[in-house]
Amino acid sequence: MRNLSALRRVDPVGKIEGNVPENMTTQPTASPQSADHKTLLAATDLASVRGERTLFADLNMHVRAGEVWQIEGPNGAGKSSLLRILTGLLAPQAGQIQFRGEPIQNCREAFHAELLFIGHKAGVKAELTAIENLEFYAAVQGQPISAPPYELLEKVGLVGLEDIPAQRLSAGQQRRIALARLWLTDAPLWILDEPFTALDVSGIALLEARFAEHVAAGGAIILTSHQAVNSAHFPLQRVQLRYQY
């Protein structure tokens, strides 16, 4: 908190250019007062400093049900840091994040129960098979699976590979194990770091279809991607981060 004023002083160009929705009217600035019942996650005046470098400052986001937010920016601009800050894994240098109007540090467990985060490192255990990995995540997400989820495995293209330890699968296949969690959750808020990495064309299409389904059901997604996301089926908000020196 004490860095906030300093940040604003040294970083006049550190303002976020984006925050202007691509195909919607202007986004109201998030503030605790304006948080309506559809607001899932509201970030106010976020700032992050890594080492000596300010990644971003005065960042405001107001993620409501039914929205997809894409964080864009060059390598090292702070996209992953921003996502990790939004999940509560990292503490921001300044600013506040609220989930359903409540600061996330006050409702950590309730927030995490409604959050699905798949990071750059996906959390797939290399020694375990696809089914064993999914069984674990399904159970701790509160959606335990009793029988092997063959339908899901077929959908994500892992049929025939379900008994092989993940370390012997390709990068894309390991990614698919992690992303299969998207079909095993009822968490309304998804935060995904580069979900399309290592996926082939059919995998990307599958994922975009799942995104559309989730958003239509009232969920929200925050993701980073170097790829253009096909936003035919959902409104896409963009946040542009610039590399700061």
């Binding site: 490192k121 375990l128 159970a139």
Partner: protein, 225 residues
């Protein structure tokens, strides 16, 4: 909301599964312990009196060193593959998840030591009437190793070469445990009551198991930064 018990049991189940598929990593510390203990009769000579005299210290020092060997497994792999982040995002208090990790670590590293303890005692000619107390010191002392070790690993997991640092950090902290554990066994050897030092080790165990999860949580928060 997922029940805390479910999360705890699922974490234990997954980690045991993972560990059983890396058997060499599990066995190495145990074999190390056996070899170190069996080196002493070769090094100091097979005089049964000398061996019996140094047995408590040798067994405990070897147990400490072998515990250091496998300790960084606690969070290292989870840190690398992202499972640690996922663990921190589970909808339960993180202390519970940490306790699950400590429990698995104890189950997989300390339980085998408890099983081969009589063999170690035999190798060093420890009088049989002290075996029970040796076993009790290990039973109460090894959870302290796992819990205090978890704090050290949580602090060093993000460093590339945390291994040596971990030992430097932890071994001084474990000196009281070593002193009271060997004192208990020596008391038993000389036919005295070992209740005092044993009770102290028991207190160490309760203290470390209740307080370590909070310290580990704070350490992990720093490490994933």
């Amino acid at each position: 909301m997922v029940a805390t018990r479910t999360v705890f049991l699922q974490l234990v189940k997954r980690d045991v599964r993972v560990a059983l598929r890396q058997r060499s990593e599990l066995l190495n510390p145990l074999i190390f312990l056996l070899i170190v203990v069996s080196l002493f009769p070769l090094g100091v000579g097979p005089g049964p009196d000398i061996l019996a005299r140094i047995a408590p210290g040798v067994i405990w020092v070897s147990a400490l060193l072998s515990a250091m060997l496998g300790l960084d497994r606690l969070f290292r792999d989870d840190f690398r593959d992202g499972a640690l982040e996922q663990m921190m995002l589970l909808p339960v208090s993180m202390e519970i998840s940490v306790l699950a990790k400590i429990a698995v670590h104890w189950l997989l590293t300390a339980l085998p030591v408890l099983l081969i303890a009589p063999l170690l005692a035999l190798l060093l000619n420890l009088p049989t009437h002290a075996w029970g107390v040796l076993w009790l010191t290990l039973l109460f002392g090894t959870p302290v190793l796992s819990a205090a070790g978890a704090i050290g690993v949580a602090l060093t997991v993000s460093l590339n070469k945390g291994g040596a640092l971990l030992s430097l950090l932890l071994l001084p902290l474990l000196i009281p445990l070593l002193i009271f554990a060997t004192a208990a066994v020596e008391a038993a050897v000389s036919g005295l009551s070992a209740a005092g030092p044993l009770a102290l080790i028991g207190a160490f165990m309760v203290l470390s198991l209740t307080l370590a999860p909070f310290a580990v949580k704070a350490g992990l928060r720093v490490s994933v930064n």
